[in-house]
């Protein structure tokens, strides 16, 4: 397991572009701190200086506080700057500049109460057809069509997402039942998964990302065991990814019952 939370602030950022979000968050918080401290000093100063003293009366005249006007205008300008300069470009890049399709790893994510099903296209790179009527919660949770040749080499894993560092990942999110929210904190990516709609999202693990396992969280209340809907993103090297892929290739297992009834 990789260390996700080294301190009492943002979790480690293992994505290529997550720093943009972190920068925005940090800048806003510095601004908030400056504003709050500056404002707080004035506030405390007022409380101390203008406390009631015997024989002293309040001055009913309202001061011409130009400072407040400047402060308000300053706040407005700052908000405009972070809005136009940071938030909107980052959001637009996230929405409108997906990575090159051919260079990315593609995974379908099917959320359900209370698990993440990750559907990889397998060596042929094509997702097999799926249909509800084939769903078997134990053996075929995404409902792969057994008659589709593309489906034969597909890999479905529950709660485990394997990605290669340096390689962009494009996900297509969907939900079987209720609203879930797909969140990988270390990748700074989050998307609600609303049933009835497919949500394409992407992220890119940095080339020097720490290898290991990190949390995938369901960020939207999805039922009684919502908290248990934890997935794991495994950041692999190409080699370790291949190793995992090989381990998954044994798609058929002996169905010998002796083991289960041996006692």
């Amino acid at each position: 397991m990789g260390v996700q939370n080294p301190g009492y602030w943002l979790p480690v950022d293992l994505s290529k572009y997550g720093y943009k979000i972190d920068d925005l968050i940090n800048i806003i918080h510095v601004f908030m701190l400056i504003l709050f401290v500056g404002w707080g000093i004035f506030f405390v100063y007022c409380l101390v200086r203008f406390r009631a003293k015997p024989g002293h009366r309040a001055n009913p005249e309202l001061i011409h506080a130009k400072g407040s006007k400047y402060a308000e205008i300053g706040v407005a300008i700052f908000e405009a700057v972070i809005l136009l300069g940071f938030s909107m470009p980052v959001w637009a890049a996230y929405k409108h500049a997906p990575p090159d399709k051919d260079k990315a790893q593609h995974v379908r994510v099917v959320a359900q109460q209370f698990a993440w099903n990750f559907h990889y296209p397998g060596p042929d790179g094509i997702f097999g057809k799926t249909d509800q009527k084939y769903i078997d919660e134990a053996a075929n949770p995404v409902g792969l069509d057994p008659n589709d040749p593309h489906a034969l080499d597909d890999i479905v894993d529950v709660n485990n997402l394997h990605v290669i560092r340096g390689k962009p990942v494009m996900l297509r999110l969907s939900s079987k039942d209720v609203i879930h929210s797909f969140w990988i904190p270390v990748m700074r990516v989050k998307q609600d998964v609303i049933p009835g709609t497919v949500f394409p999202i992407w992220f890119e693990p940095a080339e020097n990302a720490t290898l290991g396992e990190f949390d995938i969280t369901c960020a939207q209340l999805c039922g009684n065991n919502h908290f248990k809907m934890r997935g794991a993103v495994h950041i692999d090297t190409p080699e370790s990814f291949q190793k995992w892929l090989d381990s998954k290739k044994v798609s058929t297992q002996p169905v010998n019952a002796e083991e289960e009834f041996k006692e």
């Binding site: 996700q4 939370n5 602030w9 943002l10 979790p11 979000i21 925005l24 968050i25 806003i28 918080h29 908030m32 709050f36 506030f43 409380l47 203008f50 406390r51 009631a52 009366r57 309040a58 309202l62 001061i63 407040s68 308000e72 706040v75 908000e79 405009a80 809005l83 909107m88 959001w91 996230y94 359900q112 109460q113 509800q132 079987k176 039942d177 209720v178 609203i179 929210s181 969140w183 904190p185 700074r188 989050k190 998307q191 609600d192 609303i194 049933p195 009835g196 949500f199 949390d215 969280t217 369901c218 960020a219 939207q220 209340l221 039922g223 009684n224 919502h226 908290f227 248990k228 934890r230």
Partner: protein, 595 residues
């Protein structure tokens, strides 16, 4: 108003004074049409609900600080199976995930709809507003009574839902479909909500008519105390924002009971089998209708508190409010803007760039009027002669608390930073800073401030300070760590945070929060004691113990049925404190200056 009316007032008061025609206990205290009694009914009921909602949270806090441990004191009680099919909150003394969800959903619902709104609007609005505008009562006293008696069953249905088959609602106070349509317990919630919404509608119509039609002579709109303005804007928000939720509630009820698919998309596959709904509906529709109410609702929660704080600050700085008019305009603008920011709660639902641009821009704009009100209140301290009594302590503590709440709204209102912070503890910290140390401090300030008006006796100052300081410290120890937990990536509504790295890494903070919450519970004891004992043992007061200027202090304490002995007239602005050339440092609105 004609002279005939003022004659009526005098007559009404005579009745009261002689006592022979006094109403019976039931008409006077239970089914009363007197706005003051209804206000007190609302206040007491809301305080009980607040206490109950707080208790629910303390049980959840136990689970978060000590996941999987037997809950002390109440664990065995919650594990008792009351009847076959009863939904237990706990098993073997340990809170269950569904119990946690039920407590969470009900905590939110109770605090917002049964605690703060009834206290801020039903309680303070009802009691103070007619007095402040010099009216004998509300425009529709019977409607006012009905509003309370529709509210109470709504609240009781919510409470009773814990004991109904299927238990209380478990889908969060936001009740997102399709989960809320599938989950047990939601029907009682919806029925309860329809009662509460109806009550709010009756109340808000009454408030608006009263403020427009029943102001005392001379009391122009810009001579109204800021509190009345806050209530005025709030009433409009309730009037216009609640009906869409009522429509949504009816639709969700239809989805649950009549099998319609308003919020159910096609092809749902629930728990291993195809769902029974035909489909074709839209889960997002619920979110839009819900947040169209629930964002204005935020201002319903905060505006009355701002109003109270403005009153208390003006009174205790002994000088007029700075920027009264800009505060009024800001409040009105806030009310208007609150109708067009709702979708900033939905940035993660796959919103397009254009729509998100609109909503994050409106969200940034709506922060400006809040900044104006806050700044005006702080600058009002300048040049004053500040009295640090209990109401004032709560009122000035409101300012930095609301500042933190407001500032932390910024990163949440921007789509890009919201990617990381959405639905984390940061959100919880943010809105609790607005509502708990924010609004509730405002409410406490109001209770300490108007208590002598309602009862004719003061609350004890020492106990008040004993209440304030630990509450203030604990509030911050509870909610500040949440901001950090959210930053660390801890998702909200998580029954057992320990299975996540962010939860494990911040478990110490959870423990700190929980201990602070329990200490804060103890810190409320002086308040409860003070509240009840001062009714009989508090220092007796005349009509104006705080040397205040607004009209409610022209009525006797407590005011009789019909409120004023003689019809008040307003001769000047609301906050004429420390006028030059006068011996007293205040000049009430109703006082006629002898030339």
């Amino acid at each position: 108003m004609s002279a005939g009316h003022s004659h009526d007032h005098g007559h009404a008061h005579d009745d009261h004074a002689h006592g022979h025609h006094e109403l019976g206990f039931i008409r006077k205290w239970i089914f009363s049409t007197d706005h003051k009694v209804i206000g007190m009914q609302y206040t007491v009921t809301a305080l009980v609900f607040l206490f109950f909602g707080f208790t629910l949270m303390m049980i959840m806090r136990w689970q978060l600080a000590n996941p999987g441990h037997v809950i002390p004191f109440v664990g065995s009680m919650l594990s008792k199976q009351l009847y076959a099919g009863y939904m237990n909150l706990a098993t073997e003394g340990v809170l269950l995930p569904e119990g946690y969800n039920a407590l969470g959903a009900m905590h939110g619902t109770i605090m917002v709809f049964l605690g703060i709104v009834p206290l801020a609007v039903g309680g303070f609005g009802n009691f103070v507003m007619p007095l402040q505008i010099g009216a004998p009562d509300m425009a529709f006293p019977k409607l006012n009574m009905m509003s309370y008696w529709v509210f109470l069953p709504g609240g009781l249905i919510m409470l009773a839902s814990f004991f109904m088959p299927g238990g209380a609602a478990q889908s969060g106070w936001t009740s997102y479909a399709p989960l809320s349509v599938i989950n047990p317990g939601q029907t009682a919630w919806l029925v309860g909500m329809i009662f509460l919404i109806t009550s709010s509608l009756l109340g808000s119509i009454n408030f608006i008519v009263t403020i427009i039609h029943m102001r005392a002579p001379g009391l122009t709109m810009f001579r109204l105390p800021f509190f009345v303005w806050a209530q005025f804007v709030t009433a409009f928000l309730l009037l216009l924002a609640f009906p869409p939720l009522e429509a949504a509630g009816v639709m969700q009820l239809m989805d649950r009971l009549a099998g319609t698919s308003f919020f159910m998309p096609s092809g749902l596959w629930v728990s291993g089998k195809a769902a029974e709904w035909v489909g074709g509906g839209s889960p997002l529709l619920w979110q839009h209708l819900f947040w169209f109410l629930a964002h204005p609702e935020v201002y319903v929660l905060i505006l009355p508190a701002m109003g109270i704080v403005a009153e208390v600050i003006a009174n205790n700085t002994r000088k007029p409010l700075w920027g009264y008019r800009s505060m009024v305009y800001a409040a009105a603008f806030l009310g208007f803007m609150s109708f067009i920011v709702w979708a900033h709660h939905m940035f993660m639902t796959g919103m397009s760039t254009k729509i998100s641009t609109f909503f994050q821009t409106t969200t940034m704009i709506i922060s400006i009027p809040s900044v104006i009100i806050l700044t005006a209140l702080v600058i009002s301290l300048w040049g004053g002669s500040i009295r640090f009594n209990t109401p004032m302590l709560f009122a000035i503590a409101f300012l930095p608390m609301f500042a933190i709440g407001g500032l932390t709204g910024l990163p949440l209102g921007l789509t890009s930073s919201d990617i990381h912070l959405h639905d984390t503890y940061y959100v919880i910290g943010h809105f609790h800073y607005v509502v708990a140390p924010g609004t509730i401090f405002g409410m406490f300030a109001g209770i300490y401030y108007w208590y002598p008006k309602a009862t004719g006796r003061m609350m004890n100052e020492t106990l008040g300070k004993l209440h304030f300081w630990p509450t203030f410290i604990c509030m911050n120890c509870i909610f500040f760590p949440m901001l950090i937990q959210g930053m660390m990536g801890l998702s909200r509504r998580t029954y057992d945070p320990n299975i996540y790295q962010a939860g494990l890494a911040s478990l110490k903070l959870h423990k700190m929060i929980s201990w602070s919450a329990w200490i804060m519970a103890i810190a409320q004891l002086p308040f409860i004691f003070n509240f009840f004992v001062s009714m009989f043992a508090g220092k007796k007061v005349t009509e104006n113990p705080w040397d205040s200027t607004t009209l409610e202090w022209a009525a006797p304490s407590p005011p009789p049925h019909g409120n004023f002995l003689t019809e008040p007239k307003a001769h000047r602005d609301p906050y004429v404190y420390s006028p030059p050339g006068r011996k007293d440092d205040f000049l009430p609105q109703h006082v006629v200056l002898e030339v």
